[in-house]
């Protein structure tokens, strides 16, 4: 059963695929150029089941596969050997459910640290005595030890030097040269998915905004779409325009923020100042439209809160256009700067084939020649009113990622200005149902500023949310970072890292 989450043709149904055939099915589907949207587990009627979301990049459709595990089974044949992009998904499933992917090349804990009880599998609710027995305890985390004389390790994090989120990078180096980078996340695993199933569904939007709070608008939008998809209640056109405008403003602000970061890592003070002043202006527009700099608590399912009045919309359009032209005028500081280009070019490159293997998304994917963009692939009429193309490069280096971000920021501000200018009314609609439909599933997919963001919501027979899964775009991209810096120098890492600009909390949840 295919559906288009942007258009809402009806409730999303699941295809049941036996677990034994899942690997073959995915191999053929993904081989055809489709994407693995997400892979996760849920509790079914009779034990656990694997859920796989596949995005048809050609038709813009989505299919959800459901593969129940045999009764009391807590292991299955790993998909990763055929499908490298599944490797973190499977590790996450192993952590949260204790379901073991047999034959996984890197089975270590991902989000559940050693500080948690080793027999705690927080999302596994379908526990019989038999499954509890079979589920093995989590092994303590061990870093890969690079062999060889003189290799030493540089631990960076979880308390990082810069003002950024916690994560741990373990560099195995020979002198300045990074021979291997192992990224360990999970420090900010806050049990978000469990919290989402525990709270009132009307309050869920506050929680998803905190999933990765710098992507609040995109998370809230994906959540809103998922809930609307679940209930088959489409959002009003103005509401959708406003949501998209918020996402685009967020995109512009964050990309400009990352340009500040890139300038800082280059040690380029002038650039940093110019971009951070501009970022302040963009956040000012966000404040004007939504009442906060991070556009929180306005995007809710079935409605939009604090719809701004017309004069505000006109003012916001004007300011967005100014910001966009300002960005054009200061971009040469970074992109025509010979010394900066020399630092960025050829640095931390990811080849297209590798990007495809790991299913890179967002600016990092587009810099490596993967043109995938949710806004283009999944039909969204609001985006089709303006002629625009997501920038795509093939070099896959820091410079390509920087250019993608810069160009996306300009496009985003223009798209946002366009959407804001076409909002007609300022009344706050509300079409929220009294209860959620039972045994349903809903999906919301948006292109957040980091890339494809997916929310999946399922209800049980009582109409309660039984499973909520968020797939942050960073989840696909982290491994690429560790490969991009292999063989590079230690001092290049901050720049490479910033060019990917990934979210830790979105990954850890």
């Amino acid at each position: 059963m295919n559906t288009q989450p942007g258009v809402f043709t009806g409730a999303l149904k699941m295809d049941e695929v036996p677990i034994m055939q899942l690997r073959a099915r995915l191999k053929s589907e993904i081989g055809d150029g489709n994407r693995l949207g997400l892979l996760t587990a849920a509790d079914g009627a009779d034990g656990h089941q694997l859920l796989t979301l596949i995005i048809q990049t050609q038709s813009g459709g989505v299919s959800l596969l459901n593969s129940p595990l045999p009764h009391d089974a807590v292991s299955y044949a790993s998909l990763t050997p055929d499908l490298p992009q599944a490797h973190w998904f499977e590790r996450e499933i192993a952590d949260l459910w204790g379901i073991r992917p047999v034959g996984h090349p890197r089975l270590k804990s991902l989000v559940m640290h050693d500080s948690y009880p080793t027999d705690l599998f927080p999302l596994a609710e379908h526990v019989t005595a038999a499954t509890a027995r079979k589920r093995s305890r989590r092994a303590p985390y061990r870093f890969t030890v690079v062999q060889g004389n003189g290799v030493f390790e540089v631990p960076v994090g979880p308390v990082h030097a810069g003002i950024i989120e916690p994560g741990h990078f373990r560099f195995s180096c020979l002198g300045e040269v990074i021979e291997n980078l192992e990224i360990r996340l999970g420090f900010v695993h806050r049990g978000l998915e469990e919290r989402l199933t525990r709270c009132d569904w009307r309050m869920m939007n506050y929680l998803v905004e905190a999933a990765s709070s710098d992507t609040a608008a995109a998370n809230a939008t994906a959540h809103a779409f998922a809930m609307e998809n679940l209930c088959s209640v489409p959002a009003a056109p103005d509401v959708r325009k406003m949501r998209y405008a918020c996402i685009e403003i967020e995109r512009a602000a964050c990309h400009i923020g990352d340009l500040v970061g890139i300038c800082t890592d280059l040690g380029f003070g002038a650039g940093g100042t110019a971009f951070s002043a501009l970022r302040g202006d963009v956040l000012g527009v966000a404040e004007l439209l939504t009442g906060t700099r991070f556009m929180t608590s306005v995007i809710v399912p079935f409605a939009h809160k604090y719809m701004p009045a017309k004069p505000l919309l006109i003012e916001a359009t004007r300011r967005l256009r100014t910001c966009s032209s300002q960005l054009r005028s200061i971009l040469p500081l970074l992109l025509n700067n010979g010394a900066a280009i020399e630092r960025m070019e050829g640095m931390g490159d990811i080849k297209t084939s590798l990007a495809r293997d790991f299913g890179l998304v967002g600016p990092a994917g587009r810099a490596s020649g993967i043109a995938y963009d949710v806004r283009k692939v999944i039909a969204q009429p609001e985006y089709e009113q303006v002629e625009w193309q997501p920038p795509t490069y093939f070099e896959g280096d820091v410079f390509a990622r920087t250019r993608v971000r810069a160009e996306e920021a300009i496009v985003a501000m223009e798209l946002a200005a366009d959407m804001v200018s076409r909002i007609t009314s300022s009344h706050e609609p509300d079409s929220s149902p009294a209860t959620l439909p039972a045994n349903s599933v809903g999906v919301g997919i948006v292109e957040a500023w980091r890339g494809e963001l997916i929310h999946l919501v399922m209800t049980d027979s009582h109409g309660r949310v039984s499973r909520y899964k968020i797939k942050d775009p960073s989840f696909n991209n982290w491994t690429a970072l560790s490969i991009a810096v292999r063989g590079r120098l230690l001092s290049d890492f901050p720049l490479c890292n910033k060019s990917f600009g990934l979210s830790y909390s979105g990954t850890d949840l």
């Binding site: 948690y116 916690p166 420090f187 978000l192 309050m203 710098d214 500040v260 302040g280 000012g284 979210s503």
Partner: protein, 255 residues
């Protein structure tokens, strides 16, 4: 590149001159409680019903006034919007940091600021070690404090990589289990005298995460913060207010 650089050099200074200005009129701000009588007695529970973090304590017989815990408030604006009696209103002040946790609980007539010009060794100079524990919007706002607009450096505030250099431990995020040990290690790596600041509702109370298996209930389960900065995320001015309050800086003290 050169014309852009020249343009840049010609551009005016971006640092905001006014210290702790009120938030812009468009901003939703944080709630404040007025002395206007609450109509709870007549069965109004509008504010508490829509509060995602149960931050509002409705009047009871023992405590006849409505109380709002800013430490839990995620700033959704619901209560200020629905309150029929204007007991809960919007405050756009950016001087929101307090030195005692209980001062974050707003009650009618209680001042939001406990002014305390104690002797501080950091009046003119302070170095901050920032630890994020899962609230990256606050990360961005803390980083914004150092940008040319807010320019923390003019107050003698510097951010550092090494906790050995630091006087202030600035913590954001709900401090889930996996971050508690690193957080303690960071604190222990700092010499005396030192100050701990919890910044953001998530750091103060865990926000929406409170109560889960990950123990993401805010930093006070691990450390004893000296200064509390409400907001979700707090505006850079609010964070600066917290920092200046920790420094004992005169700018933070007068209201």
């Amino acid at each position: 590149m050169l014309p852009s650089l020249l343009n840049y050099l010609k551009s005016p200074r971006c640092t905001a001159d006014e210290i702790f200005p009120d938030l812009s009129a468009a901003n939703r701000g944080l709630p404040a409680i007025t002395s206007a009588p609450c109509t709870h007695g007549e069965g109004c529970t509008l504010c508490a019903d829509g509060c995602p973090t149960k931050a509002i304590e409705l009047p009871t017989d023992e405590k006849p006034e409505v109380a709002l815990d800013l430490g839990k408030c995620v700033g959704c604006g619901h209560c200020m919007r629905v309150c029929p009696t204007k007991t809960i209103v919007t405050s756009r002040s950016t001087r929101t940091a307090v030195k005692r946790r209980e001062d974050l609980v707003l009650r009618a007539g209680r001042p939001t600021l406990n002014v305390d010009a104690a002797h501080s060794p950091f009046k003119q100079s302070v170095v901050v070690r920032y630890v994020s524990t899962g609230d990256n919007a606050t990360d961005l706002e803390v980083a914004a404090c150092t940008n040319p607009i807010f320019d923390a450096s003019r107050f003698g505030i510097h951010f550092t990589a090494s906790p050995r250099f630091a006087d202030v431990l600035l913590v954001a995020g709900p401090a889930p289990l996996a971050m508690q040990e690193p957080l303690c290690q960071t604190l222990h790596a700092m010499g005396q005298p030192r100050v701990i600041i919890a910044v953001g509702a998530q750091a103060i109370s865990g926000g929406m995460f409170c109560g889960g298996y990950a123990n993401a209930n805010g930093v006070s389960s691990v450390l004893q913060p000296d200064v509390w900065v409400p907001g979700n995320p707090p505006h850079p001015w609010m964070i600066l207010h917290g920092l200046l309050l920790a420094m004992g800086h005169p700018l933070a003290l007068h209201t």
